[in-house]
Symmetry: D2
Subunit: 340 residues, 4 copies
């Protein structure tokens, strides 16, 4: 069954599956010294700039918390939104690996510069965990995107305050697609210090990459990663996927597909009376309030999550394998419920 549950539910994209099979020959050195890793590193340098240092890890939680750990000490803190994955869905991993979270209010998942500024209090006060990192999610957990100007303003301010900027980019390619920009223009060129670059939610079997963009960032990521149990041994199988994803521009194809499908879903739902779209559609997510009695019926045919159990706001995610038929079948069903 294909549903709208999560981009984690979809299969491995056939071209990525092929990449895995293709490198499944003979022996290869382990722990990142193989040829595939070298190729993938080059692909990242090409897309994010030549100073990019790449560290593969297994999943998104690790990618975020180890990026943070490389920039801060345990007595420091991270400015992030109350709705951030870091705060809501990591079971305390950021606090365990990195440090305290200072959670901030948001609008459709985005933190404003003003909110960040007002959170920077008690500088130098030893009793108060000092902020060291701003963490932005792009696209956000609510499917919205920071504009390049917004990112630039936040980075400039952060650096003037001696803070680092981290981007949680589990679906980064989708933001690049929506903003009609490039990875480099959206991150490196704006001064972003470190990026969690997602693979798993974009058609890979598994694998994420910590991208260190700030060349002045002294870090011990290879040791941090190993101690955190995130050093893959048979690295070639993760690296081969990333190499294909990036160097064949598969990332463009996948993000265009899933974003277009989300747009179709969004625009068809817009016209149905009884449903209420609750956030702008800027990536592969559609947030929508659906009357409670409909939800049960819909979920029998298409799995998706109720995002807010009190308001019945639902989250519909599209992926590389979402089909037009699937969307039309879903919206037809919603339409038929609306007409009852």
């Amino acid at each position: 069954m294909l549903g709208f549950g999560s981009d984690n539910h979809s299969a491995i994209h056939p071209e990525l599956m092929q990449a895995i099979q293709k490198c499944n020959v003979e022996h290869a050195p382990s722990y990142g010294t193989d040829e595939q890793t070298e190729l993938a590193n080059s692909a990242f340098k090409k897309l994010f700039g030549p100073q990019t240092k790449t560290y593969f890890v297994f999943n998104g939680t690790a990618c975020n918390v180890l990026a943070l750990k490389s920039m801060m000490k345990t007595h420091e803190s991270v400015l992030c939104s109350t709705v951030s994955h870091l705060n809501m869905d990591e079971c305390g991993a950021p606090e365990f690996f990195a440090g305290k979270l200072l959670t901030l209010p948001h609008t459709h998942g985005k933190i404003s510069l003003e909110t960040l500024k007002s959170a920077l209090i008690r500088k130098g006060d030893q009793h108060y965990s000092q902020p060291r990192v701003v963490s932005l999610t792009q696209p956000t957990e609510l499917g919205t995107c920071y504009s390049l100007a917004e990112i630039k303003a936040i980075v400039d301010w952060a650096h003037s305050e001696n803070l680092f900027v981290h981007i949680d980019g589990a679906r980064l390619a989708n933001a690049v697609h929506y903003l009609k920009t490039t990875f480099k223009e959206m991150t490196t060129d704006l001064g972003v210090d470190i990026v969690s670059f997602g693979g798993t939610k974009n058609g890979l079997m598994m694998g994420e990459a910590i991208l260190v963009l700030n060349p002045n960032l002294a870090n011990d990521l290879k040791y941090i990663r190993k101690q955190a149990a995130q050093l893959p041994s048979k690295t070639r199988f993760i690296a081969a996927q990333f190499n294909t994803y990036l160097s064949t521009e598969l990332y463009k194809k996948i993000s265009a597909h899933s974003c277009d499908k989300a747009e179709r879903l969004h625009s068809k739902l817009k016209d149905i009376s009884g449903v209420e779209l609750t956030a702008p559609r800027q990536s592969n997510a559609v947030f929508v309030k659906i009357p409670q009695p409909w939800i049960k019926i819909l979920r029998e045919n298409f799995f998706f999550y109720v995002w807010d159990e009190t308001t019945f706001e639902c989250r519909l995610m599209t992926t590389w394998d979402t089909t037009e038929n699937q969307i039309d079948a879903f919206t037809d069903l919603v339409q038929s419920l609306a007409l009852k």
Copy 2:
């Protein structure tokens, strides 16, 4: 090139590759709620007993340190050998996740019961980190195996002292093969509390399983795993490999193959003058001192590690894809060097 470097260097076994491809269809629920995970869990129950609880993680470091974390508190400690992977090759991961290591002398990688007994000092002394877990590696880092009687004696003593017993079983199937026993007879039936069950070094792409055998062991492993960034999202691809590895008895085929090849290597090296075998051959490892000038020449053709830089003891590992030709070519080359 095929070498004797590590069982991490080998490719994915074709039957396991096929298992991945076969389940790469449609959507599947994530985070361990899929059908493949259910099948793999059943396969583990069948082999280790019905009370077995299985938790997949990404790699061996995680498998060991989270197993430990589930049994101890930060102020407690682990009794393990000085040569254990925990002590030598985890970059401080056990200390970061679990607690202190109390390292003990060993014979060919094995800790004796007497050594363990003499390490249990200062009971109840608040200044002294109290041992809570005995960690045995089976087969050991030096390729030897504890006999069933040895494990039994250690477990019985450990339980009488209120200690848990953990087995680091990165290559557990090889010990089962050598001892002509079963998983259950070697672990559950002897009272072992928890096992780190290896996949990556046995032909899988990646994936290890924490097996909780002690039904009285209250643990929070699902939260511990998530907080430690070790909860795979697209679990089906790890689970499918384990399911095939276990339920088709592929594990027997792979361990028989790699152990037999190691035996061939061992017995052929035994008769070559100038080389000195340094440990009994009881799994897929051969430890051997080779004259320094030969090593460079040998490594040009067959990669392997010098285990001890001062004595030139080398470690030769065989895997599921080691061939007889490869062994014969290697031993022929050694023989030719011996004759010069």
Copy 3:
């Protein structure tokens, strides 16, 4: 100079100083095996009930975070108010030692049962750090007190949800005074599980006590304390102070004095136009908005903290050595500024 800055600013109460001197003879066993510790333990048992287990530590931060650590695991979380000392003034110590904080809105420092109930979401969801402890401050950071009925209702609900209840009692005696109750009636009898019992802010040189009240609470506090570097060696000097503070009922004298002085301050300020009292007076703190231009003049004579830099709400603390003259001189000065 005597001011209204903090109960940390005041000297050691003369009777406590005497207690220190009196036991400063000969040798005494260290690490809690001395006679004074035994006496202090008995005094706590007398006041909190015979099952009370007492662990001395050096300061309030330690007292709170080690109490928490004894009840929870790193993947669990604490429900506390946004304004709690835990959240605002411990530089990330709770996250480092214990786990995540889930911060909740409050009224004058108090969390309502309804707020707590609504925070208990996603039970059993491995992605979400599971609440394990409710931490109440009594009296709160804003000088208010939970009534016995309020504590009872929260404890009963917490226990029904498998949560523990911790009381941060840095100034616990002041709440006992205000509520005209006893330590036992306010804690043990209501089912409170653990208390951080303050000494330093109540006239001691230094020293706090973790009181474990729940006899079913299996804990390793002696090891937790030692590993956390909080085991005092010359324990007699801390214990002697607590013994005198409790067994001579000095705690009643000190809390009555400081609360009465706060009441005098509060009632005199109430009638001065231009100042605005911002919270009920229920302990030794008075919170009051003072016109900004007055603050500088007042602080030249009487040190105190501006609690909120944006609203000019100030915090005035009284202590065992606050005098009536001091209060009258302060309020006279405020009055004279009001008349200008």
Copy 4:
């Protein structure tokens, strides 16, 4: 009763008690902003050099582990002796706060430069926790002292290898006395980076000081200390003791007294047949094997610790209040047992 148990058993030196009383007047700012702290800081600068930065903490465990934490990351390790307090008596605190311990063999508590050199293996290997700090105890746990030349050689080598040098100086003044040197000549002038300076075992009620000597050492000790729950609030009472201890040269008086008494004890025991002195006497400790049947009788009159339960090596500590009579009574009793 006066015994030879520990310098932790003795009372507060009268001059230090007086220092506490003298500053017990009026209010003083807390958390290290008081006059006494300023005076003590100056006293440390005078004795260790003008670049010295001083951080008071409560006890020796904290002093050691926070000094380490300020110099290393969790994935790094400390080279120290197997018999170090860090390894044997801190209940895993170094691992919890700082990182892994790499324990080394010793001679009478001292680690040789050769031993250190041979421990520096696998540089740059991500699987191996990289050494960052050498920790020496001066005087050692076995009462011996590193010579200035030995310290110099270790520091020079350590710095050439990019390692920091920490001195655990719980009884540092006694080494200064034995070596007839000064604090500065023994530490700062040799390039030592950080010192744990002991107070509690030298006549203070409690209190230790982390001394940062290396001006290039970027550290966040004020936040590290606060997060670790080691920031004293009523700092004046710790600072006043250190100020008196240092600026009146009381430290010389106390160390001379206790070392002289140890020497008397050592030389009198030397001549008694049946007892065997097991280490050179170079501070206030005497290590001696005493026939088991005598120990019980001796301990009825003079408390002391059996250091090694298997060999009956005992540790006899002298302190500022050890008297000649006490020593003579003890050695007379030993003598009488020898004559039986």
